[in-house]
Protein backbone atom coordinates (compact mmCIF):
# COMPACT_ATOMS: atom_id res chain seq x y z
CA UNK A 1 0.00 0.00 0.00
CA UNK A 2 1.21 3.48 -0.89
CA UNK A 3 0.33 6.42 1.31
CA UNK A 4 1.02 9.98 0.24
CA UNK A 5 0.65 12.55 2.99
CA UNK A 6 0.48 16.33 2.51
CA UNK A 7 2.94 16.48 -0.39
CA UNK A 8 4.06 20.01 -1.25
CA UNK A 9 6.45 20.99 -4.06
CA UNK A 10 7.35 24.60 -4.82
CA UNK A 11 10.36 24.58 -7.18
CA UNK A 12 12.25 27.80 -7.79
CA UNK A 13 12.47 28.69 -11.46
CA UNK A 14 14.54 31.76 -12.43
CA UNK A 15 14.39 33.00 -8.87
CA UNK A 16 10.62 32.74 -8.72
CA UNK A 17 9.00 30.14 -6.48
CA UNK A 18 6.33 28.21 -8.32
CA UNK A 19 3.47 26.27 -6.85
CA UNK A 20 3.37 22.93 -8.60
CA UNK A 21 2.04 20.51 -5.99
CA UNK A 22 -0.09 21.91 -3.24
CA UNK A 23 -0.76 19.64 -0.25
CA UNK A 24 -1.68 16.40 -1.98
CA UNK A 25 -2.70 13.32 0.06
CA UNK A 26 -3.98 10.01 -1.24
CA UNK A 27 -3.34 6.29 -1.00
CA UNK A 28 -3.17 3.34 -3.38
CA UNK A 29 -4.26 -0.05 -2.08
CA UNK A 30 -2.48 -3.30 -2.92
CA UNK A 31 -3.56 -4.46 -6.37
CA UNK A 32 -5.47 -1.28 -7.02
CA UNK A 33 -5.37 0.67 -10.26
CA UNK A 34 -5.49 4.42 -9.77
CA UNK A 35 -5.69 6.54 -12.89
CA UNK A 36 -4.57 10.14 -12.54
CA UNK A 37 -6.00 12.51 -15.10
CA UNK A 38 -6.52 16.23 -15.44
CA UNK A 39 -5.54 19.17 -17.62
CA UNK A 40 -2.06 19.55 -19.04
CA UNK A 41 0.27 21.44 -16.73
CA UNK A 42 -1.83 20.52 -13.70
CA UNK A 43 1.02 18.68 -11.94
CA UNK A 44 0.37 15.01 -12.79
CA UNK A 45 3.85 14.19 -14.13
CA UNK A 46 5.50 16.18 -11.33
CA UNK A 47 3.51 14.18 -8.79
CA UNK A 48 4.70 10.95 -10.42
CA UNK A 49 8.31 12.17 -10.29
CA UNK A 50 7.94 13.05 -6.61
CA UNK A 51 6.68 9.53 -5.93
CA UNK A 52 9.68 7.99 -7.71
CA UNK A 53 12.18 10.37 -6.08
CA UNK A 54 13.12 12.12 -9.33
CA UNK A 55 12.00 15.37 -7.69
CA UNK A 56 12.27 16.11 -3.97
CA UNK A 57 9.21 17.49 -2.18
CA UNK A 58 9.45 20.52 0.09
CA UNK A 59 7.31 18.75 2.67
CA UNK A 60 5.05 15.75 3.09
CA UNK A 61 5.69 12.04 3.45
CA UNK A 62 5.57 9.03 1.13
CA UNK A 63 5.04 5.67 2.82
CA UNK A 64 5.12 2.29 1.10
CA UNK A 65 3.96 -0.78 3.02
CA UNK A 66 4.42 1.09 6.29
CA UNK A 67 7.99 2.20 5.49
CA UNK A 68 8.65 5.92 5.09
CA UNK A 69 10.50 6.19 1.77
CA UNK A 70 10.43 10.00 1.45
CA UNK A 71 14.19 10.24 1.87
CA UNK A 72 14.99 7.22 -0.33
CA UNK A 73 16.94 7.78 -3.55
CA UNK A 74 15.46 6.70 -6.90
CA UNK A 75 17.47 3.47 -6.82
CA UNK A 76 16.40 2.72 -3.24
CA UNK A 77 12.77 3.17 -4.21
CA UNK A 78 13.30 0.89 -7.21
CA UNK A 79 14.84 -1.74 -4.96
CA UNK A 80 11.93 -1.33 -2.55
CA UNK A 81 9.60 -2.37 -5.39
CA UNK A 82 8.68 0.77 -7.31
CA UNK A 83 8.71 0.82 -11.13
CA UNK A 84 8.45 3.82 -13.42
CA UNK A 85 7.71 4.26 -17.12
CA UNK A 86 8.70 7.67 -18.46
CA UNK A 87 6.54 9.78 -20.69
CA UNK A 88 9.57 10.51 -22.87
CA UNK A 89 12.09 7.72 -22.35
CA UNK A 90 15.76 8.52 -23.03
CA UNK A 91 17.79 6.83 -25.76
CA UNK A 92 21.10 5.08 -25.16
CA UNK A 93 23.80 5.02 -27.82
CA UNK A 94 25.45 1.63 -28.02
CA UNK A 95 23.00 -0.17 -25.74
CA UNK A 96 21.03 -3.03 -27.26
CA UNK A 97 17.37 -3.69 -26.53
CA UNK A 98 18.34 -7.01 -24.94
CA UNK A 99 20.83 -5.34 -22.62
CA UNK A 100 18.35 -2.66 -21.58
CA UNK A 101 15.71 -5.28 -20.78
CA UNK A 102 18.26 -7.31 -18.80
CA UNK A 103 19.24 -4.23 -16.79
CA UNK A 104 15.56 -3.56 -16.15
CA UNK A 105 15.00 -7.13 -14.99
CA UNK A 106 18.08 -7.05 -12.78
CA UNK A 107 19.49 -10.23 -14.35
CA UNK A 108 20.64 -11.48 -17.74
CA UNK A 109 17.47 -12.38 -19.61
CA UNK A 110 17.22 -15.25 -22.03
CA UNK A 111 16.17 -14.46 -25.59
CA UNK A 112 12.91 -16.27 -24.91
CA UNK A 113 12.13 -14.01 -21.94
CA UNK A 114 13.05 -10.88 -23.90
CA UNK A 115 10.77 -12.04 -26.72
CA UNK A 116 7.89 -12.47 -24.28
CA UNK A 117 8.27 -8.93 -22.94
CA UNK A 118 8.68 -7.39 -26.38
CA UNK A 119 5.79 -9.22 -28.00
CA UNK A 120 3.68 -8.15 -25.00
CA UNK A 121 4.03 -4.56 -26.17
CA UNK A 122 3.68 -5.36 -29.86
CA UNK A 123 7.35 -5.41 -30.86
CA UNK A 124 8.62 -8.30 -32.95
CA UNK A 125 11.43 -9.55 -30.78
CA UNK A 126 13.71 -10.99 -33.45
CA UNK A 127 13.93 -7.65 -35.18
CA UNK A 128 14.64 -5.74 -32.01
CA UNK A 129 16.82 -7.75 -29.63
CA UNK A 130 20.15 -6.61 -31.03
CA UNK A 131 19.06 -3.18 -32.16
CA UNK A 132 20.46 -0.20 -30.36
CA UNK A 133 18.20 1.95 -28.19
CA UNK A 134 19.21 5.05 -30.15
CA UNK A 135 17.66 7.45 -32.62
CA UNK A 136 17.05 4.64 -35.10
CA UNK A 137 14.02 3.64 -32.98
CA UNK A 138 10.88 5.69 -33.52
CA UNK A 139 9.08 7.49 -30.71
CA UNK A 140 6.38 4.82 -30.66
CA UNK A 141 8.95 2.01 -30.51
CA UNK A 142 10.73 3.77 -27.64
CA UNK A 143 7.47 4.07 -25.70
CA UNK A 144 6.62 0.40 -26.15
CA UNK A 145 10.13 -0.61 -25.14
CA UNK A 146 9.83 1.65 -22.10
CA UNK A 147 6.73 -0.20 -20.98
CA UNK A 148 8.46 -3.53 -21.61
CA UNK A 149 11.29 -2.48 -19.27
CA UNK A 150 8.78 -1.99 -16.46
CA UNK A 151 7.04 -5.28 -17.22
CA UNK A 152 10.40 -7.10 -17.12
CA UNK A 153 10.47 -7.00 -13.31
CA UNK A 154 7.95 -7.66 -10.57
CA UNK A 155 7.11 -4.54 -8.60
CA UNK A 156 4.90 -3.63 -5.69
CA UNK A 157 3.86 -0.43 -7.42
CA UNK A 158 4.24 0.66 -11.03
CA UNK A 159 3.83 4.21 -12.24
CA UNK A 160 3.16 4.79 -15.94
CA UNK A 161 3.30 8.39 -17.15
CA UNK A 162 1.05 8.69 -20.19
CA UNK A 163 1.81 5.25 -21.58
CA UNK A 164 -0.45 5.86 -24.57
CA UNK A 165 1.38 8.95 -25.85
CA UNK A 166 2.88 8.37 -29.29
CA UNK A 167 1.59 4.81 -29.62
CA UNK A 168 -0.37 3.71 -32.67
CA UNK A 169 -3.88 2.34 -32.32
CA UNK A 170 -3.00 -1.30 -32.85
CA UNK A 171 -0.24 -1.23 -30.23
CA UNK A 172 -2.49 0.71 -27.92
CA UNK A 173 -4.98 -2.18 -27.89
CA UNK A 174 -2.16 -4.56 -26.92
CA UNK A 175 -1.09 -2.18 -24.22
CA UNK A 176 -4.57 -1.98 -22.79
CA UNK A 177 -4.61 -5.80 -22.67
CA UNK A 178 -1.29 -5.76 -20.79
CA UNK A 179 -2.65 -3.35 -18.22
CA UNK A 180 -5.87 -5.38 -17.92
CA UNK A 181 -3.80 -8.50 -17.30
CA UNK A 182 -1.63 -6.76 -14.68
CA UNK A 183 -4.73 -5.38 -13.03
CA UNK A 184 -6.45 -8.77 -13.05
CA UNK A 185 -3.51 -10.46 -11.36
CA UNK A 186 -3.79 -7.91 -8.52
CA UNK A 187 -0.15 -8.48 -7.64
CA UNK A 188 1.01 -4.96 -8.37
CA UNK A 189 -0.52 -1.63 -7.53
CA UNK A 190 -0.75 0.56 -10.62
CA UNK A 191 -0.72 4.31 -11.02
CA UNK A 192 -1.43 5.40 -14.57
CA UNK A 193 -1.34 8.98 -15.71
CA UNK A 194 -3.57 9.15 -18.72
CA UNK A 195 -6.00 11.15 -20.79
CA UNK A 196 -7.25 8.08 -22.64
CA UNK A 197 -10.81 7.02 -22.02
CA UNK A 198 -10.03 3.30 -22.44
CA UNK A 199 -7.36 3.51 -19.78
CA UNK A 200 -9.48 5.62 -17.47
CA UNK A 201 -12.26 3.03 -17.87
CA UNK A 202 -9.97 0.34 -16.40
CA UNK A 203 -9.40 2.25 -13.16
CA UNK A 204 -10.65 1.22 -9.77
CA UNK A 205 -10.45 4.83 -8.72
CA UNK A 206 -9.83 8.05 -10.63
CA UNK A 207 -7.95 11.05 -9.31
CA UNK A 208 -8.24 14.38 -11.09
CA UNK A 209 -5.30 16.71 -10.52
CA UNK A 210 -5.76 20.35 -11.42
CA UNK A 211 -3.56 23.32 -10.48
CA UNK A 212 -1.44 21.09 -8.26
CA UNK A 213 -4.40 19.95 -6.18
CA UNK A 214 -6.74 16.98 -6.17
CA UNK A 215 -10.03 18.19 -7.60
CA UNK A 216 -11.67 14.76 -7.48
CA UNK A 217 -10.73 11.35 -6.08
CA UNK A 218 -13.26 8.57 -5.97
CA UNK A 219 -14.48 5.32 -7.42
CA UNK A 220 -14.50 5.28 -11.22
CA UNK A 221 -18.29 5.31 -11.51
CA UNK A 222 -18.55 8.43 -9.42
CA UNK A 223 -15.83 10.45 -11.17
CA UNK A 224 -16.40 9.33 -14.79
CA UNK A 225 -19.75 11.12 -15.33
CA UNK A 226 -18.20 14.43 -14.32
CA UNK A 227 -15.04 13.95 -16.36
CA UNK A 228 -16.64 14.70 -19.71
CA UNK A 229 -17.47 18.16 -18.43
CA UNK A 230 -13.89 18.81 -17.39
CA UNK A 231 -11.20 20.07 -19.67
CA UNK A 232 -8.80 17.20 -19.16
CA UNK A 233 -6.49 18.36 -21.90
CA UNK A 234 -7.58 15.55 -24.17
CA UNK A 235 -9.79 16.02 -27.16
CA UNK A 236 -11.29 12.52 -26.96
CA UNK A 237 -12.66 13.26 -23.50
CA UNK A 238 -14.28 16.45 -24.61
CA UNK A 239 -17.74 16.03 -26.16
CA UNK A 240 -17.23 19.14 -28.21
CA UNK A 241 -14.32 17.44 -29.99
CA UNK A 242 -15.91 14.06 -30.42
CA UNK A 243 -17.62 14.67 -33.74
Amino acid sequence: MLEVKNLVFHPVDNGIEKSIIEDISFSVEDGEMLVITGPNGGGKSTLAKLLMGIETPDSGRIVMDGVDITDYSIAQRANAGMGFAFQQPPRFKGMTVKRLLSLAAGCELSEKKCCDYLSGVGLCAREYLNREVDSTLSGGEMKRLEIATVLAKKHKLCIFDEPEAGIDLWSFSMLVKQFEQLHKEKEESLILISHQERIIQMADRIMVVRDGKISALDQKDRVMPNLVNEDTGCSCMNPAHRS
Binding site: A75, F92, K93
Partner: protein
Protein backbone atom coordinates in the same frame (compact mmCIF):
# COMPACT_ATOMS: atom_id res chain seq x y z
CA UNK B 1 55.23 -23.99 -28.61
CA UNK B 2 56.72 -20.92 -26.90
CA UNK B 3 56.03 -20.51 -23.22
CA UNK B 4 54.25 -17.23 -22.47
CA UNK B 5 54.65 -15.68 -19.01
CA UNK B 6 51.71 -14.63 -16.84
CA UNK B 7 52.01 -10.85 -17.40
CA UNK B 8 52.12 -11.31 -21.18
CA UNK B 9 49.21 -13.77 -21.12
CA UNK B 10 47.13 -11.29 -19.11
CA UNK B 11 47.94 -8.45 -21.52
CA UNK B 12 47.14 -10.69 -24.52
CA UNK B 13 43.76 -11.43 -23.03
CA UNK B 14 43.01 -7.70 -22.94
CA UNK B 15 44.14 -6.89 -26.47
CA UNK B 16 43.05 -10.00 -28.40
CA UNK B 17 39.30 -10.40 -27.97
CA UNK B 18 39.28 -13.55 -30.12
CA UNK B 19 41.84 -15.22 -27.87
CA UNK B 20 45.51 -15.53 -28.84
CA UNK B 21 46.70 -19.05 -29.59
CA UNK B 22 49.84 -20.22 -31.27
CA UNK B 23 47.82 -21.63 -34.13
CA UNK B 24 47.12 -20.63 -37.73
CA UNK B 25 48.80 -17.44 -38.92
CA UNK B 26 50.26 -15.46 -36.03
CA UNK B 27 53.18 -13.40 -34.86
CA UNK B 28 53.72 -12.35 -31.25
CA UNK B 29 56.11 -9.46 -30.88
CA UNK B 30 57.46 -9.33 -27.34
CA UNK B 31 59.83 -6.63 -26.06
CA UNK B 32 61.04 -5.77 -29.53
CA UNK B 33 61.48 -9.21 -31.07
CA UNK B 34 59.30 -11.91 -32.60
CA UNK B 35 58.72 -14.45 -29.84
CA UNK B 36 56.82 -16.90 -32.00
CA UNK B 37 55.16 -17.03 -35.38
CA UNK B 38 53.24 -19.35 -37.66
CA UNK B 39 52.06 -19.52 -41.28
CA UNK B 40 49.22 -21.26 -43.00
CA UNK B 41 48.69 -22.53 -46.53
CA UNK B 42 47.31 -19.13 -47.58
CA UNK B 43 49.00 -16.70 -45.22
CA UNK B 44 52.75 -16.19 -44.97
CA UNK B 45 54.47 -13.97 -42.42
CA UNK B 46 58.07 -12.95 -43.16
CA UNK B 47 60.43 -10.95 -40.97
CA UNK B 48 61.73 -7.77 -42.61
CA UNK B 49 65.43 -7.79 -43.46
CA UNK B 50 66.09 -4.02 -43.50
CA UNK B 51 64.14 -2.88 -40.46
CA UNK B 52 61.99 -4.06 -37.58
CA UNK B 53 58.68 -5.60 -38.58
CA UNK B 54 56.99 -8.18 -40.74
CA UNK B 55 55.50 -8.58 -44.20
CA UNK B 56 52.23 -10.50 -44.25
CA UNK B 57 51.17 -12.05 -47.53
CA UNK B 58 47.52 -13.04 -47.75
CA UNK B 59 46.64 -15.01 -50.86
CA UNK B 60 43.44 -14.69 -52.85
CA UNK B 61 42.40 -18.16 -51.70
CA UNK B 62 42.10 -16.99 -48.10
CA UNK B 63 38.46 -17.24 -47.08
CA UNK B 64 37.60 -16.32 -43.50
CA UNK B 65 40.98 -16.98 -41.85
CA UNK B 66 42.32 -14.94 -38.96
CA UNK B 67 45.80 -13.48 -38.53
CA UNK B 68 46.85 -12.58 -34.98
CA UNK B 69 49.75 -10.15 -34.62
CA UNK B 70 49.75 -8.83 -31.04
CA UNK B 71 52.55 -6.75 -29.54
CA UNK B 72 53.47 -6.78 -25.87
CA UNK B 73 55.96 -4.39 -24.30
CA UNK B 74 56.69 -5.48 -20.75
CA UNK B 75 59.91 -3.61 -19.97
CA UNK B 76 60.29 -0.07 -18.76
CA UNK B 77 62.29 2.41 -20.84
CA UNK B 78 61.86 0.68 -24.21
CA UNK B 79 61.08 2.37 -27.52
CA UNK B 80 59.87 -0.12 -30.08
CA UNK B 81 59.31 1.07 -33.64
CA UNK B 82 57.95 -1.53 -36.00
CA UNK B 83 56.86 -1.60 -39.64
CA UNK B 84 54.24 -4.14 -40.65
CA UNK B 85 53.12 -4.41 -44.27
CA UNK B 86 50.13 -6.42 -45.40
CA UNK B 87 49.66 -7.57 -48.96
CA UNK B 88 46.08 -8.75 -49.42
CA UNK B 89 45.49 -10.33 -52.83
CA UNK B 90 42.42 -9.94 -54.98
CA UNK B 91 39.33 -11.65 -53.54
CA UNK B 92 40.81 -12.60 -50.17
CA UNK B 93 38.62 -12.51 -47.06
CA UNK B 94 40.59 -12.13 -43.86
CA UNK B 95 40.38 -10.86 -40.28
CA UNK B 96 43.54 -9.34 -38.85
CA UNK B 97 43.69 -8.98 -35.10
CA UNK B 98 46.43 -6.66 -33.95
CA UNK B 99 46.77 -4.71 -30.75
CA UNK B 100 49.40 -3.55 -28.37
CA UNK B 101 49.62 -3.82 -24.64
CA UNK B 102 52.25 -2.12 -22.52
CA UNK B 103 53.01 -3.33 -19.03
CA UNK B 104 55.27 -0.71 -17.49
CA UNK B 105 56.16 -1.23 -13.88
CA UNK B 106 59.26 0.96 -13.96
CA UNK B 107 59.96 4.69 -13.92
CA UNK B 108 61.02 5.10 -17.56
CA UNK B 109 58.69 5.60 -20.50
CA UNK B 110 57.74 2.60 -22.65
CA UNK B 111 56.73 3.35 -26.19
CA UNK B 112 55.51 1.39 -29.18
CA UNK B 113 55.06 2.93 -32.62
CA UNK B 114 53.35 0.51 -35.00
CA UNK B 115 53.45 1.62 -38.62
CA UNK B 116 51.02 -0.52 -40.58
CA UNK B 117 50.46 -0.42 -44.33
CA UNK B 118 47.70 -2.39 -46.00
CA UNK B 119 47.66 -3.03 -49.71
CA UNK B 120 44.14 -4.31 -50.31
CA UNK B 121 43.53 -5.91 -53.71
CA UNK B 122 40.40 -5.83 -55.84
CA UNK B 123 37.27 -7.35 -54.24
CA UNK B 124 39.20 -8.27 -51.11
CA UNK B 125 37.47 -7.97 -47.75
CA UNK B 126 39.58 -7.16 -44.68
CA UNK B 127 38.52 -6.73 -41.11
CA UNK B 128 41.26 -5.19 -38.97
CA UNK B 129 40.85 -5.07 -35.19
CA UNK B 130 43.30 -3.19 -33.05
CA UNK B 131 43.13 -2.76 -29.29
CA UNK B 132 45.48 -0.63 -27.26
CA UNK B 133 45.95 -1.05 -23.56
CA UNK B 134 48.36 -0.03 -20.84
CA UNK B 135 48.95 -1.24 -17.31
CA UNK B 136 51.61 -1.49 -14.63
CA UNK B 137 52.24 0.24 -11.35
CA UNK B 138 55.32 2.17 -12.53
CA UNK B 139 55.56 5.93 -12.97
CA UNK B 140 56.96 5.61 -16.51
CA UNK B 141 54.53 6.63 -19.25
CA UNK B 142 52.93 4.15 -21.63
CA UNK B 143 52.97 5.65 -25.10
CA UNK B 144 51.45 4.31 -28.32
CA UNK B 145 51.72 6.12 -31.64
CA UNK B 146 50.17 4.00 -34.38
CA UNK B 147 50.31 4.94 -38.05
CA UNK B 148 47.89 3.12 -40.34
CA UNK B 149 47.96 3.45 -44.10
CA UNK B 150 45.35 1.68 -46.19
CA UNK B 151 45.39 1.54 -49.96
CA UNK B 152 42.20 0.07 -51.33
CA UNK B 153 41.75 -1.11 -54.89
CA UNK B 154 38.48 -1.38 -56.78
CA UNK B 155 35.54 -2.83 -54.85
CA UNK B 156 37.66 -3.66 -51.81
CA UNK B 157 36.02 -3.59 -48.38
CA UNK B 158 37.95 -2.60 -45.26
CA UNK B 159 36.58 -2.56 -41.72
CA UNK B 160 38.83 -0.80 -39.25
CA UNK B 161 37.88 -1.35 -35.64
CA UNK B 162 40.18 0.38 -33.19
CA UNK B 163 39.84 0.68 -29.45
CA UNK B 164 41.99 2.16 -26.73
CA UNK B 165 40.57 0.62 -23.61
CA UNK B 166 42.58 2.25 -20.85
CA UNK B 167 45.99 2.87 -19.35
CA UNK B 168 47.63 4.56 -22.35
CA UNK B 169 49.20 7.82 -21.19
CA UNK B 170 49.82 9.33 -24.56
CA UNK B 171 48.74 8.40 -28.04
CA UNK B 172 49.00 10.07 -31.40
CA UNK B 173 47.20 8.15 -34.06
CA UNK B 174 47.62 8.83 -37.76
CA UNK B 175 45.36 7.08 -40.26
CA UNK B 176 45.36 7.56 -44.01
CA UNK B 177 43.09 5.75 -46.41
CA UNK B 178 43.12 5.93 -50.19
CA UNK B 179 40.10 4.46 -51.87
CA UNK B 180 39.58 3.15 -55.40
CA UNK B 181 36.33 2.77 -57.33
CA UNK B 182 33.43 1.24 -55.39
CA UNK B 183 35.64 0.58 -52.38
CA UNK B 184 33.89 0.58 -49.02
CA UNK B 185 35.40 1.66 -45.74
CA UNK B 186 33.91 1.25 -42.27
CA UNK B 187 35.80 2.79 -39.37
CA UNK B 188 34.86 2.46 -35.72
CA UNK B 189 37.13 4.21 -33.26
CA UNK B 190 36.60 3.89 -29.51
CA UNK B 191 38.70 5.66 -26.97
CA UNK B 192 38.76 5.99 -23.21
CA UNK B 193 41.18 8.36 -21.51
CA UNK B 194 41.57 9.07 -17.83
CA UNK B 195 43.86 10.82 -15.32
CA UNK B 196 46.31 13.09 -17.20
CA UNK B 197 46.32 11.08 -20.44
CA UNK B 198 46.29 12.66 -23.87
CA UNK B 199 45.04 11.28 -27.17
CA UNK B 200 45.18 12.73 -30.66
CA UNK B 201 43.61 11.03 -33.64
CA UNK B 202 44.07 12.34 -37.16
CA UNK B 203 42.39 10.55 -40.00
CA UNK B 204 42.53 11.39 -43.71
CA UNK B 205 40.20 9.51 -46.01
CA UNK B 206 40.72 10.09 -49.73
CA UNK B 207 37.69 8.94 -51.70
CA UNK B 208 39.34 8.89 -55.12
CA UNK B 209 37.34 6.21 -56.93
CA UNK B 210 33.86 6.60 -58.39
CA UNK B 211 31.29 4.95 -56.14
CA UNK B 212 33.56 4.75 -53.11
CA UNK B 213 31.98 5.15 -49.68
CA UNK B 214 33.21 5.64 -46.14
CA UNK B 215 31.53 5.54 -42.77
CA UNK B 216 33.54 6.79 -39.81
CA UNK B 217 32.17 6.46 -36.29
CA UNK B 218 34.24 7.76 -33.43
CA UNK B 219 33.11 7.40 -29.82
CA UNK B 220 35.12 8.52 -26.86
CA UNK B 221 34.94 9.05 -23.14
CA UNK B 222 37.30 11.52 -21.47
CA UNK B 223 37.59 11.40 -17.68
CA UNK B 224 39.86 12.93 -15.08
CA UNK B 225 42.12 15.62 -16.51
CA UNK B 226 42.61 13.87 -19.83
CA UNK B 227 42.70 15.58 -23.23
CA UNK B 228 41.42 14.34 -26.57
CA UNK B 229 41.63 15.81 -30.06
CA UNK B 230 39.93 14.26 -33.09
CA UNK B 231 40.46 15.42 -36.62
CA UNK B 232 38.84 13.11 -39.16
CA UNK B 233 38.85 14.39 -42.75
CA UNK B 234 36.93 13.01 -45.69
CA UNK B 235 38.15 14.26 -49.06
CA UNK B 236 35.79 13.46 -51.91
CA UNK B 237 37.63 13.48 -55.24
CA UNK B 238 34.94 11.60 -57.18
CA UNK B 239 31.31 10.55 -57.04
CA UNK B 240 31.31 9.19 -53.49
CA UNK B 241 29.55 9.05 -50.14
CA UNK B 242 31.06 9.65 -46.73
CA UNK B 243 29.65 10.06 -43.25
CA UNK B 244 31.69 11.11 -40.24
CA UNK B 245 30.20 10.87 -36.78
CA UNK B 246 32.12 11.90 -33.66
CA UNK B 247 30.50 11.49 -30.26
CA UNK B 248 32.25 12.19 -26.98
CA UNK B 249 31.27 11.98 -23.36
CA UNK B 250 33.18 14.49 -21.28
CA UNK B 251 33.58 14.10 -17.51
CA UNK B 252 35.39 15.64 -14.56
CA UNK B 253 38.07 18.13 -15.69
CA UNK B 254 38.64 16.59 -19.12
CA UNK B 255 38.90 18.48 -22.40
CA UNK B 256 37.77 17.24 -25.79
CA UNK B 257 38.21 18.87 -29.17
CA UNK B 258 36.47 17.41 -32.21
CA UNK B 259 37.16 18.80 -35.68
CA UNK B 260 35.46 16.75 -38.39
CA UNK B 261 36.39 18.10 -41.80
CA UNK B 262 34.62 17.43 -45.05
CA UNK B 263 36.22 18.43 -48.30
CA UNK B 264 34.36 17.97 -51.59
CA UNK B 265 36.59 18.24 -54.64
CA UNK B 266 33.95 16.84 -56.99
CA UNK B 267 30.38 17.91 -57.72
CA UNK B 268 29.06 14.40 -56.95
CA UNK B 269 30.83 14.01 -53.64
CA UNK B 270 28.19 13.68 -50.89
CA UNK B 271 29.81 14.05 -47.49
CA UNK B 272 28.16 14.52 -44.11
CA UNK B 273 29.57 15.09 -40.67
CA UNK B 274 28.09 15.11 -37.18
CA UNK B 275 29.92 15.87 -33.98
CA UNK B 276 28.71 16.03 -30.41
CA UNK B 277 30.43 16.45 -27.07
CA UNK B 278 28.54 16.43 -23.81
CA UNK B 279 28.21 15.15 -20.30
CA UNK B 280 26.46 11.91 -19.51
CA UNK B 281 22.80 12.57 -20.10
CA UNK B 282 21.00 13.05 -16.80
CA UNK B 283 17.83 11.41 -18.10
CA UNK B 284 19.80 8.27 -18.93
CA UNK B 285 21.18 8.18 -15.38
CA UNK B 286 17.70 8.62 -13.90
CA UNK B 287 16.28 5.89 -16.13
CA UNK B 288 18.94 3.44 -14.94
CA UNK B 289 18.37 4.58 -11.33
CA UNK B 290 14.75 3.48 -11.74
CA UNK B 291 16.12 -0.03 -12.44
CA UNK B 292 17.74 0.09 -9.00
CA UNK B 293 21.26 1.00 -10.20
CA UNK B 294 23.26 3.45 -8.08
CA UNK B 295 24.74 6.61 -9.63
CA UNK B 296 28.16 4.97 -10.06
CA UNK B 297 26.76 1.75 -11.50
CA UNK B 298 24.52 3.68 -13.91
CA UNK B 299 27.47 5.78 -15.08
CA UNK B 300 29.57 2.66 -15.66
CA UNK B 301 26.79 1.01 -17.67
CA UNK B 302 26.33 4.09 -19.88
CA UNK B 303 30.08 4.32 -20.61
CA UNK B 304 30.46 0.59 -21.21
CA UNK B 305 27.62 0.54 -23.72
CA UNK B 306 28.61 3.81 -25.38
CA UNK B 307 32.05 2.36 -26.09
CA UNK B 308 30.69 -1.08 -26.94
Amino acid sequence: MEKIDQVTAAVLEKIDSQGFRQEGAYNLRYNGYSLCHGNTEHITIKRKEDKQGIDVYISGETKGEQVHIPVVVAVSGMTDEVYNDFYVEEGAQVTIIAGCGIHNSGCNDSRHDGIHTFHVGKNANVRYEEKHYGEGEGTGARILNPVTKIIMEENAVFTLDTAQIRGVDSTKRETEVTMGADAKLFVTERLLTHDKQSAVSNMDIYLNGTGSSAQIVSRSVARGESRQVFHPRAIGNALCHAHIQCDSIIMDEAKVCSIPEIDAQHVDAAIIHEAAIGRINNEQLIKLNTFGLSEEAAEAVIIENFLN
